[in-house]
Symmetry: C2
Subunit: 366 residues, 2 copies
């Protein structure tokens, strides 16, 4: 209360050593005042703090401390897209929430590392990150950022990615879940399907993705989900090649709408749309409404993710549930247990399941 100096001095911040010499004690003692109160008398400790305050010493420098202690007290989180997109997508927000829950419990900070945009300087950002480990969330396998993080050789957890060299990972059975979704439509009697996909690889061109592009997809969830759809179709003795897959440039309702508009204006018109995310399904609803088609009478729509909004859509969206928050929690826990030196289980598959709601029905006989 009532700081005397006006702070205008702008002189270099005092250091621990200076505080020590001001008090004519050893630096070790000052350090102990902050880190091990039991190592010095309460009286001296108080004097240390007071002198520190007077000299404008704000406590041990975190960088120096991290260097010396060899730990950072934070984990790095890598996200495919630009960070700002991550917050716009409910799915990644829930995932981050999960990580936060875990790291918070361990007193660790979460360092979100800028992705996307300027591909150039990115690896540098990774190299500069003062962290004890990484969570890599849904990066394309060959993403330079992911590579840079892996190169740091820190404890790491992969999410929604195939294991790489024994690095623990968490994910869901995308393929199985997608198969269930497609099988559900086929069972209802749909013969003309369409797929609204998000990016299959970096810099998606947008538009119909042929089989080759599908199998070359670098994003594992995309690839697996398409594979799941395909196998359900083929299990029903139908050809996957007849099912158009539209690749959006971005995972957002606006893109889903464009995709759906395109697919619905093809002949034969699909009676059902499989969307790789609920965000895209929202766009599909919009397109349907725009074209005067009603869901589910004229068009069935299936999403993926089961974001909270899905159940509140009109009609409620049939989709694939997956535990996003839990996924983050597990990723965090796996990383933390590695930090503790426990070599942990290598791979974890969380449950996912089809949730049938009001957006799917048998096709009308027209």
């Amino acid at each position: 209360m009532g700081v005397k100096s006006d702070g205008r001095e702008a002189r270099r911040r005092a250091t621990l050593k200076e505080v020590a010499s001001e008090l004519s004690v050893s630096p070790a003692t000052v350090s102990n005042a902050y880190n091990r109160p039991d190592q010095l008398s309460a009286e001296l400790r108080e004097r240390v703090f007071e002198t520190a305050r007077r000299m404008g010493y704000t406590g041990p420098d975190p960088a120096a401390r991290s260097l010396r202690r060899r730990r950072a007290g934070a984990v790095g989180v890598l996200y495919t897209d630009r960070l700002s997109y991550a917050f716009a997508d409910p799915v990644s927000v829930m995932f981050l929430e999960g990580i936060a829950t875990a790291t918070e419990g361990a007193g660790l900070g979460m360092l979100l590392i800028p992705g996307g945009a300027l591909r150039e300087r990115d690896p540098e950002a990774i190299g500069n990150a003062v962290v004890d480990g990484f969570v890599i969330y849904c990066m394309a396998e060959n993403d330079p950022l992911a590579t840079a993080a892996l190169d740091r050789q820190l404890p790491t957890v992969l999410v929604d990615q195939p294991e790489i060299g024994g690095i623990p990972s968490v994910g869901i059975d995308d393929e199985g879940a997608a198969r269930a979704a497609a099988a559900h439509l086929i069972e209802l009697g749909h013969r003309h399907l369409g797929v609204v996909s998000f990016e299959l690889a970096l810099n998606a061109p947008g538009g119909i993705a042929d089989r080759r592009r599908q199998s070359e997809a670098t994003y594992r969830p995309s690839r697996s989900r398409l594979k799941g759809y395909a196998s359900a179709v083929e299990d029903a003795d139908r050809s996957w090649d007849e099912v158009p897959v539209y690749e959006c440039t971005e995972n957002a309702p606006s893109q889903g709408r464009i995709a759906a508009e395109y697919l619905l204006s093809r002949e034969p018109r699909p009676t059902a749309l499989l969307c790789l995310s609920d965000q895209l399904a929202v766009g599909a609803y919009e397109a349907a409404r725009e074209m005067g088609l009603s869901v589910p009478e004229d068009l069935s729509v299936v999403g993926f993710d089961d974001i909270p909004a899905a159940a509140r859509m009109d009609p409620p969206l049939t989709t694939v549930y997956q535990p996003h928050v839990e996924k983050g929690v597990r990723a965090g826990e796996l990383l933390i247990s590695q930090l503790r030196g426990e070599e942990s289980s290598v791979s974890e598959l969380l449950p996912a399941r089809l949730v049938v709601r009001g957006s799917t029905a048998p096709p009308s006989k027209s």
Copy 2:
């Protein structure tokens, strides 16, 4: 491609100096290989990298680098609640999105610092944060975390808080906006209002908050909004003391519902509810439905924040718009300009305005 060693060696990571001596060059040269390619021959640089790879050197240690360079390449973000809550609330997510946009553009990481839960160890987390500055988001003024951050004396930006000692801040005119909201209801003819408030101070007890507690509120937005409501009421020559203010323990729909149920079962029953956030308004809708009251015929509801979901509610929610994302962007920009050494403008008020939608109407004559 084809790493030979199986990584099991677990021997101490090589250092820059070791790489240097392996190559019989000076450490400076190895450092330059990473930081200033133009300072050595391309050929030697290549050899440095190759040797580094062979020796398992993964590049300059970020902590050491931060220490020497005296910058961290990241900004710290402090949030009132537990981090995991931040992600559950659309308002803070949008705000974080804004910060991300700004920091990302500057190539800075965002370090989210664990708040809430274990009040004990928190200040330590702050002291350990390797960051160049802080954004303090809506902390109570006396929050120990905020204090700890301020104590670091780094460039800082305050959000939704009154300025403290010339520290730049960004916010909105909460009081004015709240006044407009209340005035709107009064103009419509409502005479019995109720207020659903979120926490006024740390560890909210829940329940009716008397005038004293209202004015002692440590969260500035809460205090200002209540003040705004009060002044509109008093401008209409009515007594603010007659308006019950229910303080929720948490800013979540479930709590808003409890509050609204309580308020609506009092006599005289309020014909309109002023909610300090849209999240709480969602709860108010639920309570109304539960009690067989329809909005806006039997009950008018006004929110605060204008989250995207507000416009999609049924009926669409009358609320106060404020630019959450923009707020984050400006906070980020203000911080970044401080980091650049530009002593920036001291305080910034972003626009907010009442958005009248379908949830407000004149009271029925009953």
